[in-house]
């Protein structure tokens, strides 16, 4: 057991964890943030994607202890209170959510892309979601949502 101190969604958590514990298990079982999903536990599905140090990471493939020193953002940390992030808003509006199991990861993917690129091309959008499996939507509506969020964010920025 080691004491891990981790800032997750701006809140600092200190817990004793076994060295083998994944970040995913830490988030879900130790901190109780169950918004991040476990679709395979072995790096295949992408449903466990969270932001570590500003980058999307598969939390099932990362040891909790390895996240030490990095800010972690999960789906619970994306909205500001009741205000959805434009990507979240667009996902709702565009019907990009069916069963919703991939949704937290898709949001993280989209937010990260738009943080770094305010006018992504079709291929860039596809690329950013391609590591996450969605079995329900066929991805079309998720792509539409990310494009539409980009547009909204651009409008906001440029007045």
């Amino acid at each position: 057991m080691k004491i891990l101190t981790l800032t997750i969604n701006d809140v600092s958590h200190s817990k004793a964890v076994p060295p083998t514990m994944t970040l995913l298990d830490f988030l879900r079982d130790e901190v109780g943030l169950t918004g991040t999903k476990n679709g395979c536990d072995s790096g295949e599905c992408g449903c466990c994607t969270v932001m570590v140090g500003g980058k999307p990471m598969l939390s099932c493939l990362m040891l909790a202890l390895d996240a030490e020193g990095h800010e972690v953002t999960t789906i619970e940390g994306i909205a500001k209170g009741n205000d959805l992030h434009p990507v979240q808003e667009a996902m709702v509006e565009k019907g990009a959510i069916q069963c919703g199991y991939c949704t937290p990861a898709m949001v993280i993917n989209g937010v990260h892309l738009l943080d770094n690129n305010d006018s992504p091309t079709d291929d860039e959008v596809k690329e950013c979601i391609s590591a996450t499996v969605c079995r329900c939507t066929g991805y079309n509506s998720i792509e539409r949502a990310i494009h539409s969020a980009a547009e909204k964010m651009r409008e906001k920025q440029h007045g």
Partner: protein, 807 residues
């Protein structure tokens, strides 16, 4: 903004027909929606399952003593702990919760451990000693037909591994083929495929101090699970409460009661502790229940003027180790060919075999997908041979409204002709088909599907669906339904029904669903039954509620309440007399308008005639005076229908959906790689209740169809699953998904709720043959084996070049 209602008639509805985001979207997009594994019970034990490493073996002994002795282990179960077997169909309850004496597939549950932590449970599994004596397995449906002394299921008393055989014949096949201008015949083969939902199976069980259990489970069929569990655990149903939390995709893969659900409940009861269990992705593939591996030979007779003259098929489907929905699948492999075109002479022969592989069951498009591929490819060949245009030919052949199929299905609404006509126009079909450069192609295919099965799978006289609606003193409406939202949005659909009828904003309607303690029985989410059946039940309940409120409003306004010339729904909603539909008279339908001279809007109930009104709330208060609660129920049952022959109930549905796809592809002859560039879809789902949700179903079906067409296959080696992971079982990514164009297509179904029919499954089947037909248009090869892998394309092209285009 694209207007998703464009192209559909405006019927003056306020909520029906509008694109509304699914009502749980916000919770899902914020990570707040709780799926089964997200629930935190007090101090639960963790369950792990020991699975057989062999596909076929006798269990000589199971020694659990060391596992039980491990500190932290609270219990171990083996096959000896369960007396009753189970299955979703009453006629094939052949599956044990834990294997007893024999294992029939690799991955079959043999023992289970409940321990204080997951680590201890995992360690305990290693300590269980199972002594197996390997036996000869059967891994191929053809071999399963051969006589054997040791069939997988000796209880059937057969001398081979046949599970179910169905042969039906209508008309005169010989005459039908005689009347044909061309007869085409081919053998087709299909790999088994997996649902690949993203949420692995999970179950948690909570037990109270009286020994009653609440089962949280990722299931599409809470009601069937309830019944099966009571039987397996040998306790009354009232001691069990099944709740389906948010569900991460089903597609048919969570529509059976499962062994792990029985195991979890048994541990909770035996140990008096809360328990939890979740599958690894590998376990999902082991447990499978996917689309059957299929080997079918089909023969089609076609006449230039008359269309299809005869259709015959011989099919073997590989069921794997247990029954699941297999008997239904066996029928569906034949009967679902009775549309979208008239087939005057029709014969099918389908056999489902048991093999030592993970079982197959229901998967989106259940049983209809593979034969649809064959028939649509053969039809394309027939058109090519007779020089007819395959799109225009199909257009002419689509069922007319209000017809009876050869096997006596009652086809009522058909909206596909307009949709396909528009798809032909939009895609510039006539400029492209047979005219594109080598490597580019365009193809068409059609399909049809049931909107729920008219008959229940457990015979009973209860309604197929019942919905309860209550209104609180503050006017809040709650819809209680056993229907199972599996991500398709059925909760939203139920709320739309009530909101529209009661003139309430959607936010004022809450839905409580899929909880066997609080919600009335609905049979579950399978066979595309929910919109039609639970939707009608919700609408009927809302109409009853409306009448109570109108009554109360009239009392307040001192008016004589309207006389309804019809009794309350649903009693007279169908002409129940006789099985033969009277198309002349038409159907009263479950879709009567509820105009009563009152308008419910803006929080008011207004009499049109007297120009007087009371508030909705005043009426609610008045209506509450008598009983103190305001509650009604509404039901749906399918009208009597169907032929009088054995098996006539299979595929019988109160209505059918129709679909057409035109698909454009690029085929690289060097690599054999097929790229689907564009899919244009026309799907007649009656009147679309929520175009946003319908379009989502279309795009999702394209994804799944594309997967089966191009890349997905379960690979087995002597029964051993070779690709139990998403890395090895590839599903299409955003890069493979084509551009999608959805042609607004509709009909007004006289019995569907607000005219609606199914939109979740029928869409899937025709995209696959449309791709194959486009590949033919592109490079001149007929692919008869799925998936259409690049190596198969290259091999077929080589054969074609050598002159013998025999695929």
């Amino acid at each position: 903004m694209v207007d998703l209602t464009k192209g559909y008639p405006d019927k003056g509805y306020k909520i029906i027909g509008k694109p509304v985001p699914l009502m749980d979207s916000r919770a899902k997009v914020m990570g707040q929606a709780l799926y089964t594994d997200d629930i935190r019970l007090h101090n639960p034990l963790t369950i792990k399952i020991l699975r057989s490493p062999h596909a076929s073996a006798n269990i000589l002994s199971v020694d659990v003593s060391e596992a039980l002795a491990l500190k932290g282990v609270k219990g171990v179960l083996t096959g000896a702990d369960f007396k009753n077997t189970f299955g979703v169909l009453t006629i094939s309850k052949d599956e044990p919760a834990l294997a007893r004496d024999v294992v029939r597939y690799e991955g079959e549950p043999v023992a289970a451990v409940a321990a204080e932590t997951a680590e201890i449970a995992a360690r305990a599994l290693d300590l269980i000693k199972v002594d197996y004596a390997l036996t000869d397995g059967v891994f191929d449906s053809r071999k399963a037909l051969k006589p054997t002394e040791h069939p997988l299921h000796p209880e059937l008393g057969r001398k081979n591994n046949l599970h179910k055989k169905v042969v039906q014949e209508f008309g005169d096949m010989a005459q039908g083929f005689e009347a044909a201008d061309v007869v085409v015949e081919k053998r087709f083969r299909f790999a088994s495929i997996n649902h690949a939902f993203t949420e692995p199976h999970a179950t948690q069980v909570e037990i109270d101090n009286k020994g009653n259990i609440t089962v949280y489970s990722a299931t599409q069929v809470p009601h069937y699970l309830h019944m099966a569990m009571a039987e397996v655990l040998e306790i009354p149903e009232h001691r069990i409460r099944i709740i389906k939390p948010h569900l991460g995709g089903g597609f048919g893969g969570k529509s059976d009661p499962f062994p792990h659900e029985m195991i979890a409940a048994k541990f909770a009861l035996d140990l008096g502790r809360n328990v939890k269990l979740k599958f690894s992705r590998e376990e999902v593939f082991f447990s499978h229940h996917g689309r059957h591996q299929t080997d079918l030979t089909m023969k089609l007779g076609f006449s230039k003027d008359k269309g299809i003259t005869a259709l015959g098929l011989d099919t073997l489907i590989d069921g794997g180790a247990y029954g699941s929905f297999g008997i239904v699948t066996t029928y569906y492999n034949g009967v679902l060919l009775q549309g979208p075109y008239k087939v005057p002479n029709f014969r099918f022969h389908v056999e489902r075999l048991y093999t030592n592989k993970p079982m197959c069951g229901a998967m989106r498009g259940h049983g209809g997908v593979n034969p649809r591929f064959a028939s649509e490819v053969l039809l394309d060949m027939a058109c090519a041979e007779t020089g007819l245009d395959p799109a225009e030919t199909r257009l002419k052949m689509i069922h007319k409204e209000n017809t009876l199929t050869t096997n006596e299905y009652r086809v009522t609404s058909v909206g596909l002709r307009n949709g396909l006509t528009e798809a032909i126009r939009r895609t510039n079909w006539h400029d492209k088909h047979d005219k594109l450069p080598f490597g580019k192609g365009i193809g068409v295919a059609c399909g049809f599907f049931i909107s729920g099965s008219a008959l229940p799978i457990h015979w009973n006289k209860l309604p197929a669906s019942t919905v309860r609606i209550t209104i609180d003193h503050d006017g809040g409406v709650t819809v209680f339904s056993g229907a199972t939202d599996i991500g398709q949005g059925s909760d939203t659909m139920l709320a739309q029904m009530a909101a529209e009828v009661l003139g309430q904003p959607l936010e004022n309607v809450k839905v409580i669903s899929a909880d066997t303690r609080t919600t009335p029985v609905d049979l579950g989410s399978y066979s595309s039954r929910v919109t039609f059946m639970a939707g009608n039940a919700s609408r009927n309940a809302a109409i009853r509620m409306r009448r109570l409120l109108v009554q109360a409003a009239c009392e307040l306004m001192e008016m004589i309440p309207p006389k309804y010339d019809r009794p309350e729904p649903p009693e007279d909603f169908f002409r129940q007399g006789g099985r033969k539909p009277d198309f002349e008279k038409g159907f009263l339908g479950a879709n009567p308008d509820y105009t009563d001279g009152f308008i419910f809007e803006d929080g008011l109930i207004r009499s049109e005639k007297h120009n007087a009104s009371v508030t909705f709330l005043e009426a609610v208060e008045k209506a509450l005076e008598q009983e103190g609660i305001l509650q009604v129920s509404g039901t749906y049952r399918a009208p009597k229908m169907g032929g009088k022959f054995k098996g006539s109930g299979a595929g019988l549905s109160p209505s059918y959906s129709f679909t057409a796809f035109i698909v454009e592809v690029t085929v690289d002859p060097e690599t054999g790689f097929i790229k689907v560039d564009k899919a244009t879809c026309a799907h007649d789902c009656g009147f679309p209740l929520n175009p946003l949700a319908v379009n989502g179903q279309i795009e999702g079906c394209i994804h799944m169809g594309l997967g089966q067409a191009l890349m997905e296959e379960m690979i087995y080696d002597n029964g051993a699953t070779q690709n139990p992971s998403f890395l090895e079982y590839k599903i299409p990514s955003a890069f493979e998904q084509p551009e999608v164009d959805i042609v607004p297509t509709y009909s007004d179904d006289s019995e569907g709720p607000f005219g609606a029919k199914e939109a979740g499954e029928g869409i899937l089947a025709p995209i696959i043959p449309a791709i194959a037909n486009a590949v033919y248009d592109a490079v001149g090869i007929r692919l008869t084996q799925l998936p259409m892998r690049p190596d198969r394309v290259v091999a077929a092209l080589e054969r074609e070049q050598k002159g013998g285009a025999k695929a």
